[in-house]
């Protein structure tokens, strides 16, 4: 981590003018695609993400089916032009791991027992990447699942907190992520406060961890309102 980048300004605000506990601007729109069974478009800072749901639909080949529940498959990927240096198409190790943890988070709230032998496909495509694409993608995918009418216990909402220059801050931007000291992406079920995704890397004392965690959880409640709002606008439009 490069110690020479100054991430906090003299006035205590962050490089982009945000307070330590302030989110970047977020826009969510549900039901943006014709072909998908459910979809959502989300902008979060400079992240631009689409999520689409197909299913529950029949799973082939048949020996992959689970006779007790639906399979949830999640594929997170980044468009080749979504990052400064062109990314080669196809999955890499990072996106494979992100697909796994997002898929598991989503499956934690889907009533999969209601449609055995089927598959629910979740596709997340990042067209423009700033830091935080996984929480952006998960937040969008949750709205898309609701848009698709897939039975869920609740919506889930994701946000990250982190540490820069020994200060715990919310929702790291790209510069902060590159030069920061810790990143803690999380996803919660806002209606119960339970955690369904949590990853961390860097360096946090237990006290810093609790502070970052609470900050991220609080922000999730704000984002949850935007998710519900997007779905309301979607239903109103129909």
């Amino acid at each position: 981590m490069n110690k020479e980048v100054k991430l906090l300004r003299e006035d205590g605000l962050r490089l982009d003018g945000r307070r330590y506990d302030e989110l970047r601007p977020i826009k969510i729109e549900a039901g943006v695609l014709n072909r998908a069974d459910g979809s959502a478009y989300l902008e979060w800072g400079s992240n631009k993400v689409l999520a689409a749901i197909y299913g529950p639909r029949e799973l082939h080949p048949r020996h992959m089916q689970n006779s007790m529940k639906a399979i949830v498959r999640c594929k997170y990927s980044m468009a080749s032009f979504s990052v400064p240096d062109r990314k080669r198409p196809g999955p890499d190790r990072r996106s494979t791991e992100i697909s796994k943890v997002i898929g598991e988070a989503l499956e934690s709230v889907i009533f999969t027992e209601q449609f055995p032998r089927t598959v629910v496909d979740v596709f997340i495509e990042v067209f423009q990447a700033d830091a935080g694409t996984r929480v952006a993608g998960l937040t969008a995918a949750s709205v898309a699942l609701a848009d698709a009418g897939v039975p869920m216990k609740a919506l889930i909402t994701a946000c990250a907190a982190g540490k820069v220059e020994d200060t715990v801050v919310l929702d790291l931007g790209k510069l902060e992520d590159n030069a920061g000291q810790a990143d803690l992406p999380m996803a919660i079920i806002p209606t119960t406060g339970e955690i369904v995704l949590m990853q961390m890397d860097g360096h946090l004392t237990p006290a810093e961890f609790r502070k970052a965690r609470d900050m991220a959880v609080n922000a999730c409640y704000q984002i949850y309102e935007m998710q519900k709002d997007a779905l309301k606008r979607r239903y109103a439009a129909e």
């Binding site: 826009k27 729109e29 039901g31 943006v32 695609l33 014709n34 072909r35 998908a36 478009y41 902008e43 400079s46 631009k48 689409l50 999520a51 689409a52 197909y54 639909r57 594929k75 990927s77 468009a79 080749s80 032009f81 979504s82 990052v83 400064p84 240096d85 062109r86 198409p89 196809g90 496909d121 596709f123 997340i124 495509e125 067209f127 423009q128 990447a129």
Partner: protein
């Protein structure tokens, strides 16, 4: 016959009967193309980008520029590489995994239209005083598939190339031949027009429903002078000589209209379902 097949059969008959009477399911005439919305510069991380909506079909083209090696047999020219990813987000018919024939055909047909028309001035992409050239990566991502990816992709790519800035300053920084950024030099504006045969009728700019029941497909790419730069017959089915001549005509004519849209300073825009991208 399964229930699904019965419904498909009924729809097939319905569309066929309409077309026999010169009508289409969405109200268009057989030679009418859908509304086109062109939104350039939508991706900040790309050197050039455009979103195109062609009726219900939506597609994003993005351009990235890198330094690279020229081809051994054209050392004085830049390189252009076109890829299409039929991401499964866009259609239940697309599957995850390595590029399949359909994606490869799409990329190669679009590539030929651009390349054969000399759309990009590749000679201007040699780095002076160096063995290196600029490589233009063209990437095509359908995001909502309602038929006719070929034409949507060609429009999106040409538009994206038109708004591409070569980040030459950054790419040549520290080398002996420090350059300034410059606009990607576009010389020609090829446009493709695609039709499919349904019954005895060539139907332009087909929707997904129409493609599902269509026979042969023909794509004709023409340039600003009304000359032909690329053609591709695809799908199972037969075309008459007249069908082909008709498609050449259509390509020249409709190409002019679309080229006007591309050149317009104010791009027309159908109401966007979602605000920015």
């Amino acid at each position: 016959m399964s229930e699904e097949n019965v419904i498909a059969e009924i729809k097939r008959d319905y569309i066929n009967n309409l077309i026999k009477r010169g009508k289409r399911i969405d109200g268009r005439k057989p030679d009418e193309i859908r509304d086109i919305s062109i939104t350039p510069n939508i991706i900040e991380t790309a050197e050039g980008s455009t979103r195109v909506k062609l009726g219900g079909t939506e597609l994003i083209a993005g351009i990235k520029i890198a330094l690279g090696e020229p081809y051994p047999d054209s050392k004085d020219k830049g390189v252009m590489i076109t890829t299409a990813e039929l991401i499964p987000l866009a259609s239940p018919d697309f599957e995850s995994g390595p590029p399949r024939p359909r994606a490869i055909e799409l990329a190669r047909v679009v590539d030929r239209g651009i390349r054969e028309s000399g759309a990009i001035d590749l000679k201007a992409l040699k780095v002076p005083g160096s063995d290196k050239v600029f490589v233009v990566f063209i990437d095509i991502y359908p995001v909502d598939m309602d038929g006719n990816l070929f034409d949507a992709a060609t429009i999106a790519v040409i538009s994206a190339l038109m708004n591409t800035r070569v980040p030459a300053a950054e790419l040549t920084a520290g080398s002996e031949t420090q350059m300034q950024d410059f606009q990607l030099p576009i010389k020609y504006y090829p446009i493709s027009i695609t039709g499919v045969k349904i019954g005895d009728t060539m139907v332009l700019d087909p929707t997904q429903e129409e493609e599902d029941i269509a026979g042969a497909r023909l794509t004709v790419t023409t340039d600003v002078d009304g000359n032909i730069r690329a053609m591709q017959k695809g799908r199972i089915g037969r075309l008459s000589v007249e069908d082909i001549d008709y498609m050449v005509e259509c390509s020249i004519e409709k190409g002019k209209e679309i080229r006007k849209l591309l050149m317009a300073e104010e791009k027309p825009s159908v109401p966007s379902q979602y605000p920015v991208l």
